[in-house]
Amino acid sequence: MIERSVHFDASGHSLDAVQRAAYRLSDRLSCEISKRDDTIEATLFLAEDAEDPEALIAEFRNEVLDQALRERIRTETSDIRNLVLALAFSKTGLTDTDV
């Protein structure tokens, strides 16, 4: 088993983003995540015969960045998302406020 630690600055990355990235790649690696002070540490475990370990670790880092961006989009757009869905399901008879 190949073991590598990757560190993220907790002020710029959430635990949730690191967890989501680890889940996405969980068919190719396993991961332990811990947070100490301002640092999130992800310890990655790759199979001994993993094809290109460095590329997979780089993919994990990039995935964390993408997840951070997805988180920002979710946060920024959550109000409007709720507004759209409330409008979409209004007067359908499917919600309590219709009756």
């Binding site: 068919d27 190719r28 989009i73 759209v84 979409a88 399901f89 359908t92 499917l94």
Partner: protein, 484 residues
């Protein structure tokens, strides 16, 4: 005073823009964006970076592109919100319709012995394996409890024509009842056509019944996949297809194929077989991981990675045939494309979320047991009754439709809250399929990175987008399939 206002008057009053909800996926060097209702566009890496950094110049042509796809909006613009709401409402309109497909298992008996079939029985015991008139009457009560304005009753088996008297009775009683119900009522018999005779033809003509059959490809392949006494399944199926086309009309019969390991290198021959039969659509289906398919190792004979090249070659060949003037639709692509290119949802059970089990389609088994899906009854035949919702003789409609066996998988598999699905750009096109994940992973959700369902569908969506984006004539063809 000028008759028209200056062009500047029509510009958005505020050049600032805001993000609307969207999801993204990196595909090779480009980034796929899908908005809240699944409309898509591709951006280059540089363009995406500008969007992500909030550094998009207000006068950039890209702003217009992103506004058109409801990825961003100008500060005070309410129209995108209203349009997205309207489109989302269109997309989910089937939820209020509720169950529209009602499957009656008229008989479990069959004279075929297909190794991949999950349910059929080689038996002459009608008492044991045929649906009774009493059970059918209870099933019909359940059918008309559904509020759906569109009701389709499909007779399946085994071979349902072995219990044709019951089919006649159900159709006539449903029609009589529909005089007051006034639903849009339709009937389908899913049959191997081996028992097709004048009585069946005349009845189907009189009552507008459609025929769905199985055709696995050329004679040797079909007869190997679908053995019966006389080894003439293909001959009987193709004779039956021609007879239905001639006597009932060309649109009254459709066919499905199932991919076995023997099919994997022969997709062009399979498509050619459909063309020769005058059929204009086929459904390139992988083997389901249920029941006898697992028991007989048919399913283990190949995995998703073997099936995908088969599908890709078949799709490309069908595109090629269309470009040469031979009409042919690949049905799975057509279903996916409708979700990708329109705001409609065809309601295909495997590709809906909430899952289509129970609330899109429901199965009344020959013995009165009610299943959330056809796959659910297949699992039950192998001893796993997870998806049995109740029994028509013992349980009320409310007990069946509000059972934990239905609500549990519906809730737990919902892609809107499933790990990885929530962030996936393909989620608007995809489905929940709790039965598949229960059968392969042991829970309704499954772990998506390891899910064959996820891998297969992501690959198909990428393939369809690639062909759609790369060739104008394929784009036109796919648009026709999507809006058909």
């Amino acid at each position: 005073m000028s008759r028209f206002r200056e062009p500047t008057a029509f510009q958005a009053p505020n050049a600032d823009w805001q993000l609307l909800p969207f999801r993204f996926e990196r595909i090779d060097e480009r980034i796929l964006l899908t908005n809240l209702v699944g409309e898509h566009l591709f951006l280059s890496g540089d363009e995406f970076q500008l969007l992500a950094d909030g550094a998009l110049p207000a006068d950039s042509p890209l702003v217009r592109k992103l506004r058109a796809k409801h990825v961003i909006r100008e500060g005070s613009d309410d129209l995108p919100v209203e349009l997205l709401a309207l489109k989302a409402r269109t997309r989910y309109r089937r939820l209020a319709e509720f169950t529209s497909l009602h499957i009656f298992v008229a008989s479990l008996r069959c004279e075929h012995s297909c190794p991949y079939c999950q349910v059929s029985r080689q038996s002459s015991d009608r008492e044991a394996y045929d649906m009774s008139a009493e059970t059918a009457a209870l099933a019909l009560d359940s059918v008309f409890r559904s509020p759906s304005s569109n009701i389709k009753i499909e007779f399946q088996g085994g071979e349902p024509l072995l219990n044709f008297e019951l089919i006649e009775e159900v159709v006539e009683r449903a029609e009589a009842r529909n005089e007051s119900e006034q639903r849009n009522l339709g009937f389908v018999i899913a049959t191997n056509l081996a028992l097709l005779d004048k009585r069946v033809i005349d009845f189907c003509r009189a009552h507008g019944v459609y025929i769905s059959t199985s055709l696995d490809g050329p004679a040797d392949l079909h007869n190997k996949n679908r053995p019966r006494p006389g080894r003439n399944s293909w001959e009987l199926a193709t004779e039956g297809i021609q007879r239905v086309r001639e006597e009932l009309g060309v649109d009254r019969v459709s066919a499905l194929m199932t991919t076995t390991r023997s099919s994997l290198d022969r997709v062009r021959e399979i498509v050619d077989c459909y063309v020769e039969q005058g059929l204009t659509s086929l459904f390139l289906r992988p083997l389901s991981p249920y029941g006898f398919a697992i028991k007989t190792k048919s399913f283990d004979a190949y995995d998703v990675d073997r099936w995908l090249p088969f599908y890709e070659e078949g799709l490309d060949y069908i595109i090629e045939l269309n470009s040469q003037g031979t009409p042919m639709v690949e049905q799975y692509a057509a279903i996916a494309l409708k979700k990708m290119l329109t705001n409609d949802d065809p309601g295909y059970v495997d590709l809906t979320s909430p899952a289509g089990i129970g609330i899109g389609a429901i199965v009344y088994n020959y013995d009165g047991d009610v299943y959330a899906s056809d796959e659910g009854r297949m699992l039950a035949e192998m001893g796993d009754t997870t998806f049995r919702l109740g029994n028509l003789h013992r349980d009320s409609y409310e007990e069946i439709m509000l059972s934990d066996a239905l609500l549990g998988p519906l809730e737990e598999s919902f892609t809107g809250s499933a790990p990885m699905c929530t962030d996936c750009a393909f989620e608007p096109y995809c489905g929940a399929d709790p039965t598949y994940h229960h059968a392969t992973a042991g829970d309704y959700l499954g772990r998506k990175p390891n899910s064959g369902f996820c891998r297969r569908n992501m690959a198909i969506f990428k393939l369809l987008l690639d062909r759609y984006e790369s060739d104008p004539s394929t784009r036109a063809l796919f648009t026709t399939w999507a809006t058909h």
